[in-house]
């Protein structure tokens, strides 16, 4: 379905995740973050960059992977993206919700 965010129209799934990563830009990320009650800082963007790199490399994302990467400790990750950090961070990053589940 289509969704208007700021000036742009993006396609999202039922939960609000972008279905086409090429539509993403930083402004869209900032707007999605606002909807989630998150004000983006440099540290937030650092995590988003990391997550997008993993996505582009087709590597699965998990809390464990992030812990191992050393990019951020998990407590801090929760503090930056309260609630479900991986779910929220991937939504802001414009990539699909991670399928850490079979």
């Amino acid at each position: 379905m289509d969704k208007t965010i700021g000036q742009a129209t993006i396609s999202v799934d039922q939960e609000g995740y972008l279905t086409d990563f090429s539509q993403w830009d930083k402004e869209i990320g900032t707007e999605i973050a606002k909807e989630q009650g998150i004000e983006m800082t440099d540290k937030h963007w650092e995590i988003i960059d990391y997550i997008q790199d993993r996505f582009k490399a087709e590597e699965p994302l998990s809390i464990r992977g992030i812990k191992k990467s050393g990019v951020i400790d998990i407590k801090q990750f929760y503090a930056l993206f309260p609630g479900g950090p991986l779910k929220k961070a991937t939504m802001i990053a414009g990539i699909p919700k991670p399928k850490s589940c079979i």
């Binding site: 809390i63 407590k75 929760y78 309260p82 850490s100 589940c101 079979i102």
Partner: protein, 436 residues
């Protein structure tokens, strides 16, 4: 979905019947998957050309689905274990020794006592195991006292003894992180616990909570709905999106990264599941020591003469005996094709078929694959059954209990189970939509 292209095969030496050069097929692990492969291949590879060897350090073959029933005194210890040697065909060399290292560059396997096994084809079937040491406080002084697992024989037995004398309190059934072997087992455990304490006349003294890192009871939306209702009906509480940080065994509570706390008197956890340390030592695994494997052909991504099967792979399929069973039929064919230099069949579809015990002598049955989530319908005969998909029935429960006999007498011996195909059938099922 895109499948990876088949890798070109290198020239394989043509088998010469007059030479003494026997070729070697080595299987690592004599669990469900490895034992099935030995049984499948022994009748299919010419004995004068191929020598099959299987290696496993443990003597006992466990019926792992039985670990679920052991804590509730439904199965006895004798019903879940047998001597593994009984199931290895006599023409297969069975080595009971720890495996030190796989050296893919040299096509050989090193054993603990120094023997080296050269191979032409290697099958990795080393499975998955629990790693409670991954979470702070889990494998501490309270391990198997108030903090239990039921994924090992020892854990299930310790829990049985604890339950026999327990007078009630808070029972927490918990999943640490995904993926885990048999993702429905923790739910079944919660259902069986409800039933067990009801039968003991003390259900009112036991408070059961199901704690999961997932957003719901199960990994697939349709089944999650059905299972959520069952949890509610049985008065089992759910705590979702719980990413455990530590077990605070001094204060009897588990704590997650968001500082959510769940108190317990008995914690039954499914710890992190990881592939064997051998895979890590050999530099062949991912973060969790699972071997990157082509999800349709079962050839490993890194080495064309190494195949992987069952829980040892990184496939996005359930880690379950039924999956290993369906994989074994396809892998057998692919190994024969590989030997002949033919392209591999890209056939494995992630098919899983699981009974879910729901307590009170009933069970659900789910049938799904990579692309289709479990739905309602009938199995194995479309429109007839006798088993119902995604609906509780007594017949399904009988099916689950009958399965122990099928396991020991047919499944691991590589005997085809009639009417159940390796790839999933869509007939007799009520599909609404498919997931990407």
């Amino acid at each position: 979905m895109s499948y990876l292209p088949i890798q070109p095969l290198t020239t394989f030496t043509v088998v010469n019947h007059n030479l003494d050069i026997m070729k070697n097929l080595v299987i690592l692990g004599a669990g469900t998957a490895g034992t099935m492969m030995a049984n499948h291949l022994v009748g299919k590879l010419p004995k004068n050309e191929w020598k099959i060897t299987i290696v496993d350090q443990y003597k006992t073959h466990y019926y792992q689905p039985g670990f679920l029933f052991l804590p509730f005194d439904i199965y006895t210890t004798k019903q879940v274990k047998k001597n593994g040697a009984k199931f290895i065909p006599k023409d297969v060399r069975y080595i009971q020794e720890k495996i030190e290292l796989i050296v893919p560059e040299e096509n050989k396997v090193q054993l603990e006592k120094g023997e080296e096994l050269p191979y032409d084809i290697l099958i990795v079937a080393t499975g998955t195991k629990i790693a409670p040491e991954e979470i702070e406080g889990m494998k501490g002084p309270e391990w198997h006292k108030s903090v239990f697992d039921f994924y090992t024989y020892e854990g299930a037995k310790a829990l049985r003894d604890k339950f026999r004398e327990w007078e009630g309190g808070k029972l927490v059934v918990h999943i640490t992180e995904m993926p885990i072997k048999c993702p429905v087992a923790p739910l079944e455990f919660a259902f069986l616990a409800d039933s067990y304490f009801k039968n003991k006349g003390m259900r009112d003294k036991v408070d059961i909570t199901f704690v999961t890192p997932l957003g719901g009871a199960f990994t697939k939306p349709k089944a999650t709905q059905a299972l959520h209702h069952l949890l509610t009906d049985k008065g089992i509480k759910e705590v979702t999106d719980f990413n455990i940080e530590r077990v605070d065994y001094e204060n009897n509570k588990i704590v997650d990264y968001a500082e959510t706390e769940v108190p317990y008197d008995i914690l039954v956890t499914v710890p992190t599941n990881m592939g064997d340390a051998l895979i890590e030592r050999s530099g062949m695994g991912d973060d969790l020591n699972y071997v990157p494997t082509n999800k349709a052909t079962l050839q490993t991504e890194a080495h064309e003469n190494i195949f992987a099967i069952g829980d040892a792979t990184n496939l996005p399929a359930s880690k379950a005996g039924s999956v290993a069973h369906f994989e074994a039929e396809i892998l057998t064919e692919n190994i024969l094709r590989y030997i002949k230099g033919e392209p591999l069949k890209e056939e494995f579809d992630g098919h899983a078929n699981c009974f879910i015990e729901t307590g009170d002598g009933k069970a659900l049955l789910i049938d799904f694959n990579y692309t289709h989530e479990p739905v309602e319908g009938t199995f194995p005969f479309p429109g007839v059954g006798p088993l119902n998909l995604l609906k509780e029935s007594r017949m399904n429960h009988m099916g689950k209990l009958a399965f122990r006999w099928i396991y020991w007498n047919m499944l691991i011996k590589g005997i085809h189970i009639p009417f159940v195909s390796a790839t999933m059938t869509e007939k007799g099922k009520h599909f609404e939509e498919t997931e990407a």
